[in-house]
Amino acid sequence: MGFPYDEASWSVVDGAMFMGWGSAMPGLYTLIAAGICVAVLLFGQKTERAKTKQYDK
């Protein structure tokens, strides 16, 4: 991914310095992280429902 400034030097850094700054990557990461949260909840609900169903009378 590389250093987010044209010149790979800390002396030119005067603002954001995280990986992916200035590219589409931060947005993509945010989308993936949000997707993980939703997917985990869906998976959790599915598996927990299957487990609790065993105790249904």
Binding site: F3, M17, Y29, T30, I36, C37
Partner: protein
């Protein structure tokens, strides 16, 4: 004299614009302003120095919370018959770490960043000669190792590093509960906490460290040099120590040995998370002091810029990602809180430069692989009572390498690429291998020597009877723990 912000009577000055005394008045004003600026700079310097000293001072009690956490976690993970002896062991590790780090650990850190024989490095803050001048408790250097009104930095730096050392030793402590001898354990803790990780820190966590200057290794939050070193040191010890009686069946399958108090263990893990805010805060170099990298902004130990805001964003996302990842496969609060720890450890190397959403993703993956990695180790006959090898060792190395995947090209030190090395996947892998060896080799060798001397494992009879009964003149629960259904009101 004028007070700051107070204006002289300009009307008088203007009125007498052509007066021969005007030049004298201006000179007087300049002299007064100069004096005021000097006074302000003096006050500002005192404030900054007090801030810097207080900053590190406060990291010390925060890191002691890590030890409260380890204590609760290990005691909860022990069976009732071993609960206090696990506590004794843990408390002793902390106590021995402080003086031994004072005696020689601090000296090792400053003496050997460039490796053997301890030559001075380019930053001018390393080498045996430098260490001799600041880190011995005798001779001229003793002035920096005790109360000194002219030195408001050495004590708090030492304190923070001593707590790093104690944390490292405590990581190994949990893995070996319920069968290790107390003195043998203390010797291992000293080797790990006051030597092995200190060498790793000198090499990979110092501006003159050869792993940094030659390979561009970046490990801001000590994922490799603390966690991986401690985790694999524990693995070396566990191989010689062997499993607890009853852990494995003759066919090699493993039994789960439940601790006596899971809520205590989980609370302990949460306390470790709390304490890690202090640990990571202590990895920051504050600005404005003679020893600071910058006058106006904080830096990492490598002299690269960082903010506490970066830590706030990334630590929180790491904790969350780790918990969620561990929940997917385990649904077990022990592994979920271990996942929180794994989340921090997996991203610790780059907490200064990760983007928070990426931190979440890496931490989530660490939480996800945590339990399968622990199970893999258990299937190979290793009885790690609390999963320390996996949480700290495996995930620590995972974090070091993952930074190489995402942060390649970042200058690893203050300066520009070319003048200083850059972070790279190869460099991070080299760092990971060195950290593994610095943990595993001393752990294995010293525990083997202790084993040959009969100082590693308690006798079988004592293990079966319980270490509290054998070694501790107190009872954890003198009135016992009520069995389920006992002493309950009707209907409960």
């Amino acid at each position: 004299m004028l007070q700051f912000g107070q204006r002289r009577d300009t009307h008088t000055t203007v009125h007498n614009a052509n007066s021969p005394t005007r030049g004298f008045i201006v000179e007087e004003q300049i002299a007064e302003l100069t004096a005021q600026i000097a006074a302000l700079q003096g006050k500002s310097g005192v404030t900054n120095t007090m801030f810097a000293e207080t900053f590190y001072y406060l990291t010390i009690p925060l890191m002691i919370i890590i030890h409260a956490g380890f204590l609760a976690y290990e005691m909860g993970a022990s069976r009732l018959k071993n609960v206090l002896s696990s506590g004794v062991k843990n408390i002793l590790a902390f106590a021995f770490m402080i003086p031994t780090f004072y005696f020689f650990g601090w000296w090792v850190y400053w003496g050997f960043p460039t490796g053997l024989p301890g030559a001075a490095g380019p930053a001018g803050i390393s080498g045996v000669e430098y260490a001799n001048a600041i880190a011995w408790g005798w001779g001229e250097s003793a002035q920096y190792m005790g109360p000194n009104i002219a030195d408001q930095a050495s004590g708090v730096f030492f304190g923070a590093f001593a707590l790093f050392a104690a944390t490292t030793a405590s990581i190994m402590s949990g893995a070996v509960i319920e069968r290790i001898q107390t003195v043998g354990f203390v010797i291992l803790a000293v080797v790990l906490g006051s030597f092995a990780w200190v060498v790793a820190a000198a090499w990979g966590w110092h501006a003159d460290g050869w792993l940094v200057t030659q390979w561009g290794v970046h490990d801001f939050g000590a994922a490799g040099l603390v966690h991986a070193v401690a985790g694999f040191f524990a693995l070396g010890v566990l191989i010689n120590l062997g499993p607890r009686i009853g852990k494995f069946n003759p066919d090699g399958s493993a039994n789960h040995i439940a601790g006596h108090n899971m809520p205590l263990t989980v609370t302990g893990l949460m306390l470790i998370i709390v304490g890690f805010w202090g640990f990571l805060m202590a990895c920051v170099i504050v600005p404005g002091e003679a020893w600071s990298w910058f006058a106006d902004k904080p830096s990492t130990i490598y002299g690269t810029p960082i903010t506490l805001s970066a830590l706030a964003f990334n630590i929180l996302m790491a904790v969350a990602g780790g918990i969620i990842g561990a929940w997917v496969l385990t649904r077990d609060p022990f592994w979920m809180m271990s996942g929180a720890l794994a989340g921090i450890i997996s991203t610790a190397s780059g907490l200064d430069i990760y983007y928070p959403a990426l931190t979440f993703i890496v931490a989530f993956s660490a939480g996800l692989i945590l339990k399968p990695c622990a199970d893999w180790l258990e299937r190979r006959g290793i009885d790690d009572a609390v999963g320390a090898v996996t949480v700290h060792g495996t995930i620590g190395l995972y974090g070091v390498v993952m930074l190489g995947v995402f942060a390649s090209g970042y200058p690893a030190l203050q300066g520009a690429a070319g003048e200083v090395p850059t972070i790279s996947l190869i460099g991070q892998i080299v760092g990971a291998v060195v950290f593994f060896l610095l943990g595993f080799v001393p752990g294995y060798v010293v525990s083997l020597i202790l084993k040959m001397m009969g100082m590693l494992r308690i006798p079988e009879g004592a293990e079966l009877a319980g270490m509290d009964m054998v070694k501790v003149p107190a009872a954890g629960y003198p009135e016992g723990i009520p069995a389920p259904g006992v002493n309950l009101a009707p209907g409960e």
